[in-house]
């Protein structure tokens, strides 16, 4: 319903300034999990992990999804990759409706959509050398001859800095950073168009993170990759992303150009997140003053009525407690799901020329 209601020209978050030909178009995406009953014959509780999310992602672009643990950001990545099947909404990739794709079609499509996630050690097969693992993906997709595959794997490993002798090692013979490079090589050798990066450097040491981040950016530039970059590290996101979606309890609460968001977040939750980054992570001191939220994120099993943030938000009014704010476009092009976004103390964005408010 939401997907229909949003349509394509509605308050869906199309990339400001981008052409209509997005690589990935997500509309009204939802995922509900059904849990076992609490009582003998009671209803099965439902958990809305992802609730009515829409976004576009263009080739070569990076959209970051940020939020705290359990907000559903990893679920979004898994839905896009079809590792989970959506409960509602549509995902169009390269003009093709992926919801309609059958398993055979997915196997072909899988090549274009790759995943890099946090735990590189578990992502690698301990019994195979890494050049074999990189070539294996090509073999599964029936690409090229065996000799060509080996050459392609070697070239890719060279590109991620694991050339020569390192390529013939087993995963346990590599450091954490090198393992993550191997995982990246294995994903990218298939020449995907979209890579979902789920906390790709969170498990790495600080001094090594920068190496991998640089690598991801170089590869993006060289191969024109689109990244869906899922992370909780805001200064990292500030560095890599073009646009950022801030997620809270399964919904996007603010979607904006990276620079605009970090200069002046409009949603109270985005303010709290950015304001919580230590001052030492800014060269010229904090631009966003700290905003303390009460308590902790509520259980998604039992979300508050109205705006999900209302029990924690210092600006909450009766309206926030009764009506859930829709994601709407502000004058500067960002989208915010807050009733009072323009009226909050320190708001930088004035009211918009009436956004396409939905008739529900």
């Amino acid at each position: 319903m939401s997907a229909v209601r949003l349509g394509l020209g509605g308050p869906a978050i199309d990339h400001p300034g981008s052409t209509a030909a997005a690589l990935l178009q997500v509309r009204g995406l939802s995922k509900r999990f059904t849990l076992p009953r609490d009582t003998l014959f009671g209803p099965r509780p439902e958990l809305a992990a992802v609730d009515d999310i829409s976004f576009d992602l263009a080739a070569g672009e990076t959209l970051a999804v940020v939020g705290e643990s359990g907000c559903g950001k990893s679920t979004v990545g898994n839905l896009v990759l079809n590792l989970l099947s959506p409960s509602g909404g549509s995902i169009r990739f390269d003009g093709e409706d992926l919801a309609a794709a059958d398993d055979a079609r997915w196997r072909e499509r899988r090549r274009d959509l790759q995943l890099i996630f946090q735990d590189s050690r578990s992502a690698l097969d301990p019994r195979l050398t890494i050049d074999c693992q990189v070539a294996e993906g090509l073999e599964i997709h029936g690409v090229a001859t065996a000799a060509d595959r080996a050459a392609m794997a070697a070239a890719m490993l060279e590109a991620v800095g694991l050339g020569g002798d390192l390529a013939r090692r087993y995963p346990h013979e590599l450091s954490g950073g090198q393992q993550q490079r191997a995982v990246i090589a294995r994903a990218l050798v298939l020449e995907p168009k979209l890579v979902v990066c789920d906390e790709p450097v969170a498990a790495l040491d600080v001094s090594v993170q920068a190496q991998v981040v640089n690598l991801l950016r170089d590869l993006q530039r060289n191969f024109g990759l689109a990244y869906l970059f899922i992370s909780h590290d805001l200064s990292l996101v500030r560095h890599v992303a073009d646009r950022v979606a801030v997620m809270y309890l399964g919904r996007f609460v603010e979607v904006a150009e990276c620079e605009a968001l970090f200069a002046a977040p409009a949603h109270p939750y985005a303010r709290a997140l950015i304001g919580a980054v230590p001052a030492a992570r800014s060269r010229h001191g904090r631009r966003v003053p700290p905003l303390r939220l009460e308590g902790e994120p509520p259980s998604p099993l039992n979300p508050p009525s109205g705006c999900a943030l209302n029990p924690r938000c210092p600006f909450a009014t009766d309206l926030c407690r009764s009506d859930r704010p829709a994601l709407r476009r502000l004058a500067d092009g960002r989208s915010v799901a807050c009733h009072h976004a323009e009226a909050l103390p320190g708001a930088v964005v004035g009211p918009d020329i009436q956004p396409a408010r939905a008739v529900s």
């Binding site: 950073g177 040491d205 993170q209 200064s235 980054v277 030492a280 992570r281």
Partner: protein, 325 residues
């Protein structure tokens, strides 16, 4: 100012099947009453083992090889029973992961009361009453009801509050906090840091705050010790460390982090990786990754020497340089 905690030349040894390794090598640190000393470094640099040595928590095959730890003016003997109880009364510790740090089959009230009882030697009934007060003090709502809850029934932030209540029961003079906010959500981290600094002020505790997060340590610590490969490489006030890092490793760490308000095309990583415990370089452990390393660095390990209010263990400390992009 008297010294609350005085670590001298601490070396920790782990006996592995194929010989000993030394993850902490000659660490000396001092902490005054009410002061917060930040201990930063990457995983495996020895920061957690230093804390555990202070607390006297040695796992199997882990032992102090050399050096000593002084607490409240007297040396702590790891083997002495009296010293163990002196340590238990005077020190509290918070761990990284509250979910696994709390006993799953005991109620919060039971666990806090026990900590209070052991530290103060009070009666169980008094300890139970005090436990509810302590839960209230660390900001757990409805403490009387929550005292009967089990750890799995409350959220991560509340669990960490309960851990803090256990650590400060009996008002210790030293609080050791090992990555106390790493496992928590960002918006909750700030609450826990506020709580810690309030409690520190109220109780007057010294705090040894261990973290891998350079930004965080700047917020909480008065002085910061940077550790690399088992040694303290730089010691400075929090402000100085960020404005004028003197050790190339500190500089490298700061440069490799992206800033919130700075548009750089590429980050400047530290090349290479941390040396393995089994293959420590003979001289300075950072030399193989250091852009300024000389032949001396490869041969002689630099001592931690005082330098303009701080201390640095480097043959070629960086000159104070002005901000440049």
């Amino acid at each position: 100012m008297s010294t609350l905690l005085d670590i001298r030349d601490l070396t920790v040894r782990i006996d592995l099947a194929d010989g000993p390794v030394f993850p902490v090598r000659g660490v000396s640190l001092a902490l005054g009453p009410g002061e917060t000393l930040g201990l930063v470094g990457e995983s495996g640099c020895g920061k957690t083992l230093t804390c555990l040595s202070v607390m006297g928590l040695f796992g199997r095959r882990v032992a102090i090889d050399d050096g000593e730890i002084g607490f409240q003016g007297a040396r702590l003997d790891p083997a002495s029973r009296a010293d163990r109880s002196r340590r238990a009364r005077g020190m509290g510790m918070i761990f990284q992961n509250p979910m696994t740090g709390l006993n799953p089959v005991r109620t919060l009230g039971w666990q806090v009361a026990e900590a209070y009882q052991i530290r103060t030697g009070s009666k169980r009934r008094a300890a139970n009453a005090r436990a509810v007060e302590l839960l209230d003090l660390v900001g757990i709502p409805e403490p009387r009801r929550r005292a009967r809850d089990f750890p799995h029934q409350i959220s991560g932030g509340q669990q960490q509050r309960a851990m803090i209540a256990m650590a400060i029961a009996g008002a210790p003079s030293l609080l050791v906090a090992d990555e106390p906010t790493t496992a928590l959500d960002v918006t909750v981290q700030a609450q826990i840091l506020d709580l810690l600094s309030r409690l520190q002020r109220e109780i007057g505790m010294g705090m040894l705050f261990v973290t891998h997060d350079l930004g965080l340590v700047a917020e909480v610590a008065d002085r910061v010790a940077v550790m690399y490969a088992g040694r303290v490489v730089e010691l400075a006030s929090a402000a100085d460390l960020f404005a004028r890092p003197r050790h190339p490793y500190t500089r490298g760490l700061l440069d490799s982090l992206p800033f919130l308000d700075d548009d750089v095309e590429r980050l400047s990583p530290i090349l290479g990786t941390v040396p393995s415990l089994r293959a420590m370089p003979a001289g300075c452990a950072f030399a193989p990754r250091c852009p300024h390393a000389s032949t001396t660095c490869g041969r002689v390990a630099p001592e931690l020497t005082s330098l303009e209010g701080g201390a640095v263990a480097c043959h070629h400390p960086l000159a104070v340089r002005t901000e440049a992009a």
